[in-house]
Assembly symmetry: C2
Homo-oligomer: 125 residues x 2
């Protein structure tokens, strides 16, 4: 897919993941070319982990995978927006629906998100 | 704001910008510490341009600035979600409401977004 500029930021692009029904932004992840190809091929979201240097399918361990409904590309071709159906509990490994479960207000961090599963039950079995 | 990990990706963090009424994702931008401080201080969105190596206030030229309504931080502290009121025409310099005005479908790029202003009238006067 030559419209996507993977090279600009070292081989991967940031991917905004938005839940298609609620419009909630669930997470920010990254895709390299291989993650892109796996996503298109399977219809499920695959990402590139920058910390683990590894391709991963979202939900591989937790079962909380993401069915891709639409893929949008930005004006510069260096960022993607995935509209997904979030399956299973939620998107965040901490047990929250969205990774953006904390707000910053007057210099303080405050939890505002919804906890939807217990990560100990999902990841440590 | 020590909750934000500016150092992880070389001094700036990706910022997802979402319009607070519609839930539309408008753009992906970046903030360094200075852009963060200007945003908190003014209540308007300031970003760091990686290509121009420069601090900029969104809407500085176009008048299409963004009033910040809420700031959320992700689980890793290395990405922000700004909920904003988009003032003026739209967020994208190409004249579209959102920078994500194109979809990728079956290997083809297709315009699906809404054009809301003529960039020649906004930027070349």
């Amino acid at each position: 897919m030559e419209a996507i500029d993977f090279e600009k930021s070292g081989g991967y692009v940031p991917v905004i993941v938005q839940e298609c029904e609620s419009g909630d932004v669930l997470m920010l992840a990254y895709m390299n070319r291989e993650a892109w190809e796996k996503t298109v091929e399977t219809g499920k979201a695959w990402y590139w982990s920058r910390s683990r240097n590894q391709l991963w399918m979202k939900g591989e361990t937790s079962g909380h995978y993401q069915v891709v409904r639409e893929i949008l590309i930005d004006c510069d071709g260096d960022a993607l927006l995935l509209k997904v159906e979030q399956r299973g509990g939620g998107a965040c490994h901490t047990g929250y629906w969205s990774c953006f479960y904390r707000t910053i207000r007057h210099g303080k961090v405050e939890v505002v998100g919804q906890k939807v599963f217990d990560p100990r039950e999902v990841y440590e079995k």
